[in-house]
Symmetry: C2
Subunit: 366 residues, 2 copies
């Protein structure tokens, strides 16, 4: 339920200008127009929904990946195996956003024919926010599923090194009058970005977020970040925290499940092998679309969804709280606000974007 | 990763005797032979895997449900809507195990034709352990998915009353030489049974397991159990605990997702309506089967699964730990042990089974 830090000295940039800037930068380094637009759209969606870590701030990393040759700028993805309801896509080492969008479109198209469609993807790259692809199913009256594996950051229960990624799971479900249900969650207890925020602010973390190189919980964000950077061990804990007392093994199980569906199933990299090769991240994705109408008429389903979500929101509140949220609600509110007010960018992000713009011959907008 | 309390004064009963006892009791109260066997098989599977709360100890509740007319003893379930890849099953208010097994068989059969098969079920009852059904897919070389909603016990983030069930998710994945991956997890931080154990032992719970009627974490198990029994509020926390600090909203999101897939999608009860009617629990289930061969040949997938699971188990251990588990491994080891040594039953369970046996005209075995 995205809580984002607005860094001191932030400026607010109109969505449209930021989008155009990103598109122009991608085009200058050889990404075709349509693909540049898709990639920018996924990045902007993250910024609008308050997940800045996966937004345009990440542009420099995509640019350096393309320049270094580890990301192929032109889409070379293709279906290598398919049935009426499934497809295996080779991402051709392209931009994860382009590959991801295409693969989710295939899942939705398959589901129009056979009620359910599933696509797995190998040989792809970082695809941005998982929720983007899951939400693509909503307009089709379908439940959308999206997941990806990622570079190792998460320490399995009773281990002391990061073996799995923060491996997010997103599921989007259509509703009637209520906002759609959009679960979009890393399977770790917190994202790396949150630990970086605590480090910048010099704050202690709660015990149960991350472990030091001995494999035990620490309150010191710097120890965790440095150990991760130097590959000394340590890392972020899975949802549920350290050990089994708060069921950290369940979060670990979910992260592993994602690695199975996104890595082992399509034959992409898994665990330590994700991003192990400088020239080929071999990230894997998993997409699904389930047509609600295969089970019941859409209007009745939407009415029941509205009723269920209202039941939750209208439940008695815990002392000191006046609102119960449903997943996707906060992000949607932020999206509306930011479409009107613009997207906040911290000074460091602005600097890095100005630099990237300069290097690519695209003037920075602000 | 089932950790089960072996109650003082427990006796060890051979699997076969306990199975026969359960079958005989079901038969005496009007459950046909085949359906009695299926139901007993699911209960015994739970006992063997160390999930006694879902094992034969639960027999009296099924018996009283049948006697009270809230569970129909003869299978009247039927497919009410289907496509090549999907089916909606009406459970006819029968035994959840019978309905569940049938619905999972349908999903697997559909997946033989279209690579993926999904079945949703409405108008069913408690179906035992979710893992039983997911594991049915393994022999077919498929990934099995199983989920059910349940009576409200779990308090959504920022609420102070239980609105959702412990809503388990199970996914089973075939392997080669390694034990299959079997994730079988309640989406709550702990099951109710664990709180009952702490209560019996007069121990304080860790903060972050359950909330009192104000909606805040308490260490007192009695307060939680009494408040739940009297419907005063309070209940178990979702995976991730209280509030958003440890991402309790993610566990809440998973529990809600289960209620959507198992309740709203088939048109079963959701949230507070599950078990709200004394004559009809209207529990819903969700089953899926995904044929690995739709994406890649099974042998290569199994090799990669083995490699992934070995990578995890062989990772450096946290200080003080000498083993990293993979999901399903502990349960499988316990299953082997209990097939040899028998199933432990506490004195209270033995008493209740003896009573049920006496009432049904089936002599207790021990």
């Amino acid at each position: 339920m995205g809580k984002e830090e607005i860094v001191a000295g932030s400026i607010w940039v109109p969505e449209r200008s930021l989008r155009e800037f990103a598109v122009d930068v991608f085009r200058k380094i050889g990404v075709p127009a349509r693909e540049a637009k898709v990639t920018a759209d996924v990045l902007i969606a993250a910024d609008l929904r308050g997940i800045g870590s996966h937004g345009v701030a990440r542009l420099p990393r995509y640019v350096s990946g393309i320049k270094a040759g580890s990301i192929v700028p032109k889409d070379a993805s293709r279906i290598v195996k398919q049935t009426r309801a499934t497809a295996l896509v080779d991402g051709g080492n392209g931009l994860g956003q382009v590959v991801g969008r295409k693969a989710m479109e295939i899942a939705i198209r398959k589901a129009r024919g056979t009620a359910v469609g599933f696509t797995t993807v190998r040989n792809s790259n970082h695809y941005g926010i998982a929720g983007y692809y899951a939400m693509m199913a909503l307009k089709a009256g379908m439940i959308g599923i999206s997941s990806t594996n990622a570079a190792p950051l998460v320490v399995p229960t009773f281990s002391r090194t990061a073996v799995l990624g923060t491996n997010p799971i997103s599921v989007a479900v259509p509703t009637g009058k209520e906002e759609p249900f959009v679960l979009d969650m890393a399977t770790s207890v917190v994202p790396r970005g949150t630990i970086e925020v605590y480090d910048r602010q010099g704050k202690e973390m709660p015990l149960g977020w991350a472990v030091d190189p001995t494999g035990h919980s620490t309150t010191n964000p710097r120890i965790v970040l440095e150990a991760l950077a130097k590959r000394l061990g340590g890392g972020i804990l899975p949802l549920g925290g350290e050990g089994e007392t708060f069921s950290g093994h369940k979060g670990y199980g979910l992260a592993l499940l994602v690695d199975i569906l996104c890595g082992a199933l399509p034959g992409a990299a898994t665990a330590l092998d994700v991003y192990a090769d400088d020239r080929r991240a071999n990230v894997g994705h998993f997409f699904g679309a389930i047509d609600v109408r295969a089970f019941r008429p859409l209007p009745g389903f939407k009415r029941d969804m509205d009723k269920l979500l209202r039941t939750l929101r209208e439940s008695p509140k815990a002392a000191g709280h006046d609102r119960i949220y449903v997943h996707g609600e906060k992000s949607r509110a932020m999206e509306r606000e930011r479409r009107a007010k613009g997207i906040p960018l911290g000074p460091k992000v602005v600097d890095s974007l100005r630099t990237i713009g300069g290097e690519s011959g695209v003037p920075w907008i602000a």
